[in-house]
Structures are given as C-alpha cells and as structure tokens.
Symmetry: C2
Subunit: 305 residues, 2 copies
C-alpha cells in the first residue's frame, strides 16, 4: 500500500511512531485493567474476566485517551473511561462468541471464554464486564465533577443498549433468522449500532470530560466506525485466521450480506478510503495535535488484523 515516495516514506515513519503510541496506550490500559481486576475476589469467573480482557489492539480505549489529550484531560482520569470501554467491548465479544450467537472457538488468537471455561461462566463474565464498565465511568477517579461521571454513564448506556450496540446485534440476528440478505442502507444502519456507537462514545468521551463540544469528534468517529466495519468485512475475505486472530471467511460461508458482498471488493476498498479521508477532515479544527487520530483512521483501513 505504501510507495517509496517521499510522501510514502513520511507516512511510513509516522506510522511507526503511531504504532508505538498505540502499543503504549494498550499497555497502560491493560495495566489499569489488571489493577481493577486484582481488586476483585479470587474466583474462576474473575480469572475468566482477565482472559476476556487481555490482548487486542484496544482501539476504543486509545480513542478515549487521544480525545482526552486533545481536550487537556489528565491521563490519570482518562484511563478510567478508557478501561471501561474496553471492558464493555470485551463483554460484547464474550457474549457474541457464545454457541447460541456466533459460536466462535477463537478470539484474539486465544480460545473463547466458553471454550476455555464453560457457557455459564461466559454468560456471567460478560454480565460482570458490562457492570464493571459502568462502575469505572461513574467512579470518583474518572472525574472530580459528578456531572461528568453522570454524563459518561448515561451516554455509555445509550451507546451500549437497545438503541445502540445491542440493537445492532439484535438486527443482525433478526436478519439471519429471516434469511433475507440485507441491503446497503440497512447494513449501514445496523453497523452504526453494532460497532459505530461504541467507537463514537470512545472518541467523544474526552470532550465530554472537558465539557467541550463533542460534534467534531462525533463526526470523525461516525466516518471512522463505518470505515472500520468495511475494513473488517474486507479482512474476513482477504485475511487468514492466524493473522486476524479469529475465524475468517465466515460471512461468505454463511451467505451473509456484507459491505464486500454488496459493493464488491474494489468498491468496498474505495469506500473505506473515502470514509477515512472524510473522518480526517472533521479533525481540521484540532490542527496538528490531532495527527495521531488521523493516523488511526489510516491504520484502521490498512490493518491486517
């Protein structure tokens, strides 16, 4: 994808710095997650919660930290909602992987919770991780201002619930049950709930914490979220499961409509590229400080896993 032109080289160089930054953020969030989990009782379910929250790129938490940095929110505070969104994301994956849902054996290159433990544990682990997400955002250390904590809890509930992520999942299941392939408009609406709502919350959390206007980061995140999902559909076709860390080719096998099946591979790639550019445009008001978020948009459509 990158050509050996001066521009290409700059992008590559920036990309390396970006990857280091992303890795450092993932590590900081992982350490905070471990600190929170270490405070819980020593029961098998908590070990399974640890397993479910390990690994992954922690893109959502990274969005929280970067959005917070842009608004001058201390990282010590921002780590709480960053860890919260990763806990919420992990809960959705654990439940999604259940036999009655997507029935997946592999997640982030590791056995899924219901494979390593059992289904009952997986149900409870997901439940507990969701609860933990709300505990973390409403925790006193997230913000000294109660209004911020209440706003984060309310907006997270709206993003994660029956009008956001869970609605997207329910629409997905309903479509599969009905057996009628979705059209582009419906699949866009579905994905905006299923993956977009949490991405949007992540990107805007920092602005919420600072009491600033969330609109630019919200618009950025809406384009980014859709680009992310299109890239995911492309990976399901082009990636191999060892690199991606989960089963691939499942959508085509299931005859499921995806952005790739509806648009074709080339048009899907073009659409993801254009959404990435659109996402970056919304960041113009932040100037060079938002360069990391621009690189994230590029990373999202270029990633191999």
């Amino acid at each position: 994808m990158l050509k050996a032109t001066p521009r290409g080289r700059r992008t590559l160089k920036a990309s390396n710095a970006f990857r280091e930054r992303l890795a450092a953020s993932a590590q900081a969030i992982g350490a905070h997650m471990e600190q929170v989990l270490a405070g819980l009782p020593d029961v098998p379910m908590v070990h399974a919660m640890r397993h479910a929250t390990q690994g992954g790129k922690r893109l959502r938490g990274f969005l929280v930290l970067e959005g917070a940095r842009l608004h001058g929110v201390p990282v010590a505070n921002a780590l709480w909602p960053a860890t919260a969104i990763e806990a919420l994301h992990a809960y959705s994956l654990v439940h999604d992987d259940l036999p009655c849902m997507d029935d997946d054996d592999l997640r982030r290159g590791q056995p899924t919770v219901h494979r390593k433990w059992d289904e009952a544990t997986a149900v409870l682990v997901g439940d507990a991780l969701q609860t933990m997400a709300f505990e973390l955002v409403s925790h006193e250390d997230t913000s000294p201002q109660p209004a911020v904590r209440a706003d984060l809890a309310l907006s997270l509930a709206r993003a994660g619930g029956a009008q956001g992520m869970v609605l997207g999942q329910a629409m997905d299941i309903a479509a599969e049950t009905a057996g009628t392939p979705l059209d582009l408009e419906t699949i866009t609406h579905l994905q905006r709930g299923k993956t977009g709502a949490l991405i949007e919350w992540s990107a805007t959390a920092g602005a919420r914490m600072a009491g600033a206007d969330i609109a630019p980061l919200r618009d950025y995140a809406q384009a980014l979220g859709l680009a992310f999902q299109i890239a995911d559909d492309i990976l399901d076709v082009e990636g191999d499961s060892a690199t991606v860390g989960k089963a691939t080719g499942k959508d085509a096998e299931a005859g499921k409509a995806t952005f790739v099946s509806l648009l074709g591979l080339e048009e899907a790639k073009r659409r993801a590229e254009s959404l990435m550019e659109n996402a970056c445009e919304h960041l113009s008001g932040y100037g060079p400080e938002a360069e990391t978020l621009r690189q994230l948009a590029r990373f999202v459509i270029a990633r191999k896993h």
Copy 2:
C-alpha cells in the same frame, strides 16, 4: 400463621392495605417500564424485553419507592431508579434461566425468554436490560443533581457486579461444579451477594437521592434480604409450582445445600422470623412512617409465591 387475636386482626387488616399499596406500586413501575420500552425500536428483542419485565411483585422497586417516600423524594423521580432496579433484576432472571445456567422453562407463570424466543434473544435481552438499568439511574429525570445520578450509577454497579450479585451467582456455579455442599457461613455470604446486594441498593436508593444517611435502611435491607432468601428456600420445599410461578423442589432434587437443608424446616422458619424482627428494629428512627416497610418484612416471610 395469623391468629384471631386482636393483634392478629390488626396485622391482617394492615396486610390488606399493604397488599393494595404493593399492587399500586407494581402498577406504577409497570407503567413507567412500558413508557421506557415504548421509546425503543420495534424489533423482536424489545418485545422480549417487555415479556421479561412483566409480572412479578416488583418488591425491589417497591423498596425504592418506599425508601424515597421516607426521605421526601418525589415519586416522579423515584420511579426512575425503581424501574431501573426492576430492569436489572429482570436481566438477572433471564440469564439465570438460560439452559447453561438453571435451565428453567417457567418464570412468573410464563415461558422463559429462551423458551418463547431463543437463546440468542435471551442473552441480548438480558444484556439490554442491564444497560437500560444504568441508563435509567443516570437519566436527568432521576434527579436534578448530577452527584445523585453518579452515586446511584456507581452504587448500582457495585451491587450488581463481580463483588455483588454476579459474584453470588459465580460462587453458586463454582460450588455446583465442585460438587461440595456449602456450609451455612458460605451460603449466607453467597446469598448476601446473589439476592442481598440488590435488595440493599433498593432500600437505600431513596436515602442516597436525598443525600441522607443510608445506614438504617442498609441494615434493615441486610436482614430483610437474608429473610427473603430463607423464605425462598422454604417455598422451594413447601410451595407448589403453580402458586410460586416457577419450578419448585429443584434444590432438593439437585442435592443443593439450602438454608432448609442445613437448618431444617422449623429452624429455618424461626430464623426468618427473627431476621424479620431484626429488620424492623432498624427502622425505629423512622417512626410510624416506616410501617409499610415493616409490613413488607412480614410479607416477605409469609408470602406463598
């Protein structure tokens, strides 16, 4: 249980007024729940959420409303956390009833969500109801004070999560997997999480909303919660499934340790009675205004379903 003595008659009379009050509260919470659900998209999952939240005595919501009344919190505000705790309780029942958990076909005299719909829907319905609970407590209409909304969200997360309700469920499953019957101390600890934590939250929510001391209602609720669980174990032995609205005799059949199996039926009844009296003692500071909560304690150990 009631004798035809003057004292007995007074209790019986009060009990009828109490039942009317409980029914009126359940109706108000049901109406509010319906209003919230009516605002959600018209998808099968939302119909299943409605099914899962219908029926029941709504004891936890009643505790919220009564605790709020004692502290002068307007009912229009208190209905939000009252509905929230019923949504959270309903989520725990839907997931508890799953085939991989208790595998129940009947709940509140109706087919369970995974029987009427399917397992995937039941997982999502539980997930969405939990999220909804946090949306309701952090909603602006719960309290004009952000500090109250943040405190309700944080305390609800602590009561519902891996140190509260879900921990109790995880301990329950771990004990069943290990196959070693629990002793009285462990079962008391387990039940304090599994049912006690939400009952405690419900009773103290009104005091939290008023910024008052939660200690008397917390102590009342701890005794009440344990009495409630002992009464539940007694019902599992003495009740018939048609009246109780769910399968009975399951604990004995599964060789599970309960308060009845550990203490014997008579001692369990004596213990429940003594806890009920203890619960009432903690209300002394509230005077006659707390009579309804005293009657609730009597109702909890005398109920037939």
